[in-house]
Symmetry: C2
Subunit: 371 residues, 2 copies
Amino acid sequence: MKNFLKISLLATSIVGSINFAQAQQPAIVEDFKPSVLNQPQQEYPQVNSQGYARFKIVAPTADSVRVSLGLGGRGGTKLAKAEDGTWMGTTDGPMDEGFHYYNVKIDGGKFNDPGTLNYYGSVRWESGIEIPAKDQDFYALKNVPHGNVQQILFPSPSTNTSRRAFVYTPPGYEKGKDKYPVLYLQHGWGEDETAWMNQGRANLIMDNLIADGKIKPFIIVCTYGMTNEIKMGGMRNFKIDGFQTVLVDELIPYVDANFRTIAKKEKRAMAGLSMGGMETKTITLNKPEVFDYYGLLSGGTYASTDFKDKPKPKYIFLSCGSKERPDGIRKAAEELKGAGFNVDGYISEGTAHEFQTWRRSLLQMAPKLFN
Amino acid sequence: MKNFLKISLLATSIVGSINFAQAQQPAIVEDFKPSVLNQPQQEYPQVNSQGYARFKIVAPTADSVRVSLGLGGRGGTKLAKAEDGTWMGTTDGPMDEGFHYYNVKIDGGKFNDPGTLNYYGSVRWESGIEIPAKDQDFYALKNVPHGNVQQILFPSPSTNTSRRAFVYTPPGYEKGKDKYPVLYLQHGWGEDETAWMNQGRANLIMDNLIADGKIKPFIIVCTYGMTNEIKMGGMRNFKIDGFQTVLVDELIPYVDANFRTIAKKEKRAMAGLSMGGMETKTITLNKPEVFDYYGLLSGGTYASTDFKDKPKPKYIFLSCGSKERPDGIRKAAEELKGAGFNVDGYISEGTAHEFQTWRRSLLQMAPKLFN
């Protein structure tokens, strides 16, 4: 996500995903366990109760192995040859809670850690690791009724192909007759339509909220937002038209025709993280007749002046991590509230421009939608 | 898949996925194009019209880079340093048509090619490459109505967790009222429930068959068949009980309760590839009251004596690639036919123990089910 930050138009600061090394780090507690995102039967990477991560890579004749997480002289964590000929290393401090993308540099080439599952970010499938969070219960897989996540292929005449989206339908959808509101939920730069259900765990967050009676069920739809094939660093030339057409003229009518939705503005939301927030802001302001609930997650802010000639939406949600620029969110929320908007500004404590911020944002935002 | 073959009880021969190098290979035609399974914006690996594959790996200071495909002295394809400092190499002969798993050895460690998407096989996420096949049209993404593939999480008391399955529902399912037959379709050793929809393209094969009017629509369900956590090489200790309970007592009732299925034996099929065929054979013979259509894809054969005290199923499908042991399939089909069974034996021409065999097998089998 860093590249996007550097080139984005958003007023968020460039923040890393890791704690800066302290002069005095606490002694490392040797209670390391395999990360929950490891591939089956893989013992490494491991994480401990303090949030340190430990890596082990097999490459007996390599000259240099480095993991992109942790500081270690700003180049990540340099692994060292262990007695058994493998490369091992531990981050130089505890990492933020939640999900982190990373990769492994081996003799100057960028690869993935064979120990972990891969997640699409930075325009490549990256390794993923999960630092157990104190609040991880809200996105845990529990013994509750589960909604389904389905891949749909919808016709897109404007791009001359069938495009993919993932649709979360709440528990009971398959056999029921109810109609549901819909949240269109966008990923960030370099990610794709898999992000919210994979690293975001949006389906489990919804399952748990519904099981706890905290929200009325709704549908979530995620599709690919980099429609005009942005090359690395190409955000300067970003135009919303391509994606707006796919979303508003192609995907929404398809979803309304093929799922039991309440097909009206009052029951339709759009939200997005990072670049997806920028897209949300632009499209909701371009198409105020389509959505009535807007969410920007580490993705900028609205000002009351944005709505000069436009109807007020029913609700606006703004958020970011405390390690981003929380004052911007707080001020924007205050300004909007003063101008008579129904708005929340949420700050995720102790997290940066990463998925833990956005999981928590979904948790906070979902109960406020469609009321 | 090779490990499974070595330790399996099946009478299939151990066959590689590649053509053996000839004394005289044809001159390589320089019409290489990126494989269709490459990650976005990735130029390598490439394939040419003859079926050669060419690889390019960035690892400037590595001592040795080797790709597991192609022969090259039986260790795959050894890459050589190119002028620009990258590692490049081309297979020493054309490869079989269709999908191949592979990995990259860098300085003695096993990694994935950062250029390609990953597919779960050999108990790890592997790199994938697609050699364009003459018959690739039947699994191509076309402008036809598309069914959906949905992830379900079903309760499994026997394993004390929620387990994952993927369910293909045919076009029109969401808005219709029809009830459908169901095919339970299993992956091979080292693969998982993602295999048939990802590398198998089962959803697209179904979409195209339905659009062409060649089959009546049905549902496909894929779940994980290595329920008892087989370790590498642990097939000797394989017991069917764990998986049979999950499939028959947990998954099938869940699917029948949550999807519009025709919940009776006459409209239920089970098939599987390789180890999934072995599971299919065992479970269908243990539970003849549950399934009425049986398919073994490179996964062994039935003999008429297997049905001594059991009802005859409505249909049996047996298949393998011509580079496996096709005579075994032909003989078994003949024997069953002679004993009055409704059976087909299908041989996929020019393919081995790989997914092209199984894509074609699904194409052949699907029109014969539920008639």
